[in-house]
């Protein structure tokens, strides 16, 4: 069984999301815009989404990502957390998010 599994993810505070191999976040120099490259698709994430995705390294969990953004923007953590989860869940539903899993201890 592969360590990454890209389908049927339910994003929660303890998820440790990471972009799968087929979804690559990249700054498009020609068009001066961030893009997610996916099979037969090019998505254009907004600035907040880009910031969240840059923190999705498969090590941090969603709670830690929310902590970091709440501190940076001096914003209410609960609101940030729910926004982050909604954004990542949308990406997961499209099949463009994977989850790092613990190996069986």
């Amino acid at each position: 069984m592969a360590a990454l599994r890209s389908r049927n993810i339910s994003v929660s505070e303890t998820s440790r999301p990471v972009l799968p191999r087929h979804a690559r976040l990249k700054f498009d120099e020609t068009r001066q815009v961030w893009v997610i490259l996916a099979p037969e698709r090019v998505l254009a994430p907004d600035e907040i989404a880009v910031e969240v995705l840059q923190l999705c390294d498969g090590v941090r969990d969603v709670g830690q990502i929310a902590d970091q953004l709440a501190t940076k923007y001096a914003a209410e953590r609960a609101a940030i957390l729910s926004d982050v989860i909604a954004m990542l869940q949308d990406l997961a539903d499209k099949g463009f998010l994977a989850e790092a899993r613990e190996k069986t201890p």
Binding site: S6, R21, H22, R24, E29, L37, V42, G95
Partner: protein, 402 residues
């Protein structure tokens, strides 16, 4: 690789995924920004002989193919001018011994790479090497859900078995998988089983692509054309599966345009958002464009840059936008919706690529061609003409009965 126009269209098809934003920034109707994705047809060589192959009937010979160094230069240039994705296709791209080297080069210059393959030449080692070169995605074509139909359509023994094996290796290597199923009268009955096969193979996506009738498929139209009843049933099956498999398997579906009321927005419009590079290095507005005689296509071997060819060459500008359109297209409210349909189909069916695509109900030829399709679909000519470098070989009785 016969469903390319489904795939490539999809690059800009869905505004909900944010691409519309990119289009308006990157290009306008008049300036034609560099496409996001390009199709690289590395070779026309292929061990399969599918009767609906999307390659031109006049295939490029091995001796004319771009060399490794030439392809690398092309990939570098594509990345520099703003192309983001490269689809390695053919023919059969794995017939090129330098494929892993080319994938690695695409990775090195920052291109997202997709392999469009029949998979019969793949070994687990070859696929591992491609994964190590950071290939991003694999698309495998299937001709059916079991060997009897599938191997006969492919004209290749044990093709189906090899494809299933390669699809398993793909997922074992944690590469994302799209199953591409090209559908026609002689395999549409297998559609529910093909959908289940894609689920069982742990594919991420399934393309259910009805054959588009030009080139080889036009030669084989009588043997391939589905009935309206088949298409209605297929649409129902796909809709049901899309709902049932939400979150498990994404299904893209392309109806055959003979049975549509409006023509397809082929290639997203000629020269608007797509080009491909043929094995010999021609830069083409679509993979079938060389079937249009009388158009000269520039090569990457010329003194022109790829960006110049895209923006300035006669072939790209000939059917760009809407200015070239005759009636009934010119005064049509849909002219910027479908751009008059498919130029290659207009050429194949009317003799003039500048005519309205007969798939459109507004074409004076629509009725006649639609009736012909219905007649062919109801007929019992099920024999194929197999695709090859010799211009095609009729199926023998023993192959047909196999």
């Amino acid at each position: 690789m016969s469903a390319i126009d489904t795939g490539v269209k999809a690059v800009a098809a869905d505004p909900s995924d944010g691409l519309a934003i990119l289009e308006s920034r990157g290009s306008t109707a008049e300036t034609y920004g560099i496409p996001l994705a390009v199709l690289a047809e590395l070779t026309h060589r292929c061990p399969l002989q599918c009767p609906y192959c999307s390659n031109p009937v006049e295939l490029d010979r091995a001796g004319t193919e771009l060399t490794t160094a030439e392809w690398k230069k092309v990939l570098t240039e594509l990345a520099e001018i703003g192309v983001l994705q490269i689809h390695f296709s053919g023919g059969e791209p794995t017939a090129r011994k330098d494929l892993a080297e080319l994938v690695q080069h695409a990775t090195d210059v920052g291109l997202y790479s997709n392999l469009i393959t029949s998979a019969v030449l793949l070994t687990k080692d070859k696929l591992s090497a491609l994964a190590d070169s950071e290939l991003n995605h694999v698309q495998i074509s299937f001709q059916g859900n079991e060997p009897v139909v599938a191997d006969r359509v492919a004209g290749f023994k044990r093709a189906h078995e090899k494809k299933i094996e390669a699809a398993r290796w793909t997922r074992e290597l944690d590469l994302p998988l799209t199953v591409n199923a090209v559908m026609h009268r002689q395999n549409l009955f297998q559609l529910p089983d093909i959908i289940q096969m894609a689920v069982d193979l742990d594919a991420d996506r399934l393309e259910v692509a009805n054959v588009q009738y030009y080139g080889w498929a036009l030669k084989n139209r009588a043997a391939l054309m589905p009935t309206i009843a088949q298409i209605e049933e297929a649409s129902r099956i796909v809709e049901e599966a899309q709902t049932r498999l939400k979150g498990i398997l994404a299904i893209d579906y392309v109806v055959p345009d003979y049975y549509a009321l409006r023509p397809k927005k082929c290639m997203g419009g000629w020269g608007r958002q797509f080009f491909n590079i043929s094995p010999a290095g021609k830069v083409l507005p679509c993979h079938a464009a060389e079937s249009i005689t009388g158009l000269a296509f520039e090569s990457v071997r010329s003194n022109h840059s790829i960006a110049w060819i895209w923006q300035n060459s006669e072939a790209f500008n000939r059917y760009r936008g809407t200015g070239w359109m005759p009636e009934p297209c010119q005064s049509c409210a849909f002219k910027e919706v479908d751009f008059g349909g498919c130029r290659c189909q207009a050429f194949a069916l009317t003799g003039d690529a500048g005519n309205t695509d007969p798939a459109c109900t507004l074409s004076p030829l629509h009725e006649q061609i639609f009736k012909l399709a219905e007649t062919e679909a109801a007929g019992n000519n099920n024999h194929f003409i197999y695709r090859n470098f010799a211009g095609g070989t009729p199926e023998t009785e023993s192959e047909h009965g196999a």
